[in-house]
Symmetry: C3
């Protein structure tokens, strides 16, 4: 009766995700499998790490989260199991789980070495199928993580992603464009409140300036830029009935812009 | 053992849909969740309403359908629960459920006001997660809709979407392009039969004219326009082994053309 | 408690796949439904046949695989049930199951004619909903395939898809581009080994030449073409941290190139 979530950069054209589900269900017919997303940009480890951190806590305790964004598949990068806040995480040790690991002093990390919990034949190109899916299937049956490998303490990290304070400016950046063209920053509601105190905020992004923060996507005139706190309480640039990414000329594949907050 | 379907304009790039599933499964681990589609065009309420009406009756009685196309999220638009034909519908009161409401004199509508059935913290930007998913989870556990809010009678409606008779012409319009490029109209098989009586039909769409209605997509020469009744018995313009939208120069984002029937 | 997989060219914009799931769950509430992919190119029967053959064996015995790539829907092409290697396959008789049929001398094939296992009303345009989904639902309840129609022996075949030997050259071809831009050929690891013996391989594709086969996508310099055996042990052209389809100028919709192996 467990739950396994899947997050990958595999896309939906190929049967790769379905194959992983077949492997899991061959081990545990009663598990529920939920797709988080399979449209992480190919190889975008930090984007995947952000999406996973944003999502996992909405699932019940003991959920197993399999994440496979794995440009180093088949090299000597380690397969990893993480237990944190009573959730399990399975995938490559390449930074995917760093935001979760970093924020939990009691995290348990296991280097997956026990091949009894892998498929019999392990390819060099598809560890989602051969290692991570079967490990998740066994975990969902109640196997103890510590029988699956050895504890270790030096996981691969990601660069620090928090905003910096420069003089009287809070210097953040856009970290993600969502499906609606909303530009999501790394500036958290509480961080901005601490920075501002009693003052009003002026936000600069690209060549545009936004005055203050509103409450909903429908606030303000149609077609105009606005700023609000999104569903994870991060500052977000949006357009009422439009796309902020287009208005800001953020093209796919281009670097995401800085999001700079001044107090006024 | 209940079933919950999800229909949104959230797309599949972000983990939003997965997060809604996590919330539901945290309340009812045994429910089955089915995606209807998450690729409704952003904000396309009438497209979503059409897709939902086309789909719901193929599910077993007591299925709960959650629909979130919600440009007014966080404003004073009401969260809504509808019971019709022994199915349940949960989402914003913005017209999404109008075709279902309009066609059922015994419909029950409830304005969702009881916060006991919401998440503890309600954002202004993601009621799919904070209101509609938890309401659906509680409903699937057998909670009585009338404990979740107050009955009301004045839901938001959509403009009339049925064809009109002008002289000896039945004036319909294209309402949707499907994945195959088929152009689906609002003209129902029975309506056309009533209009035609014993006569033959001549169909005009854009600059093209089609003579008569065939039975299958493979009828007629390859690459030529044809008309047939699709899987919901609406008149549909298609091309044998091709795309009708391209042949008719219907670009994405442009207004959909009129579909005009003459009797001959 | 059975498993039903779905593979179609229906895409994810329309509610067609969700509707099929509703029909199945109306017959068997306890079945698990898994999407293989719904993004087969419209009408691409051989691409679907390849994806299905690559996937089915990773599912547990008795899994039912429904495949609907069906340009001839509504014509006299037969609806088909195949039992092979203790898996079931349901869909149109148009070559979709040919690779599975061809490789199993003990295959059972049934022409689905018993309308008791279809929906009451059968459209001419959506047999996935009206025939294949309900047949799969009934099968998952344990109905005997032989009560569903008549055995037959002359299924529709596909052209031979194996590489050919011309002098001292193994002449294969690209059969699929995956989500990462990897170009997957029809040359199996064992076939190449038999051809080469003790010799080294030189691979030509388009105007490019690749020397030898590496083990992982991360082998070799970034941005350079490489060849390796992919997750189904077929020879695959890839680029470390890039897309082989772009480097080889393979545009969407264009014919896929030959993949030619020389011994050196």
């Amino acid at each position: 009766m467990g739950i396994i979530t899947l997050l990958t950069d595999f896309g939906l054209e190929d049967p790769y995700v379905g194959i992983m589900k077949g492997v899991i269900m061959g081990l545990n017919r009663a598990v529920s499998i939920v797709d988080l997303t399979h449209r992480i940009a190919p190889g975008d480890i930090s984007g995947a790490a952000f999406a996973l951190k944003e999502s996992f806590s909405f699932f019940p305790p003991a959920t197993i989260h399999v994440a496979v964004v794995d440009p180093g598949v088949g090299t000597d990068r380690r397969p990893l199991l993480v237990k944190s806040r009573n959730h399990f995480f399975v995938g490559p040790d390449n930074g995917l789980f760093w935001p979760i690991i970093q924020s939990d002093p009691q995290v348990l990390m296991v280097h997956l070495t026990n091949q009894n919990y892998f498929l019999p034949h392990i390819s060099r190109t598809f560890h989602g199928r051969d290692i991570f899916a079967p490990v998740a299937g066994h975990l969902s049956l109640g196997i103890d993580p510590l029988t699956m490998g050895e504890r270790f303490m030096n996981p691969v990290s990601l660069p620090d992603a928090t905003p910096t304070l420069e003089g009287d400016t809070l210097l953040g950046r856009a970290v993600r464009i969502d499906h609606f063209g909303n530009v999501i920053s790394n500036i958290h509601r509480e961080e901005l409140a601490r920075f501002l105190g009693n003052r009003q905020v002026l936000i600069r992004v690209g060549k545009e300036t936004i005055n203050g923060v509103v409450n909903t996507y429908a606030d303000g005139p149609k077609g105009k830029l606005l700023a609000l706190f999104g569903s994870t309480d991060h500052l977000e640039i949006a357009v009422n009935s439009g796309r902020a990414d287009r208005l800001l000329n953020i093209d796919e594949g281009k670097a995401l812009p800085a999001v700079v907050c001044h107090a006024s």
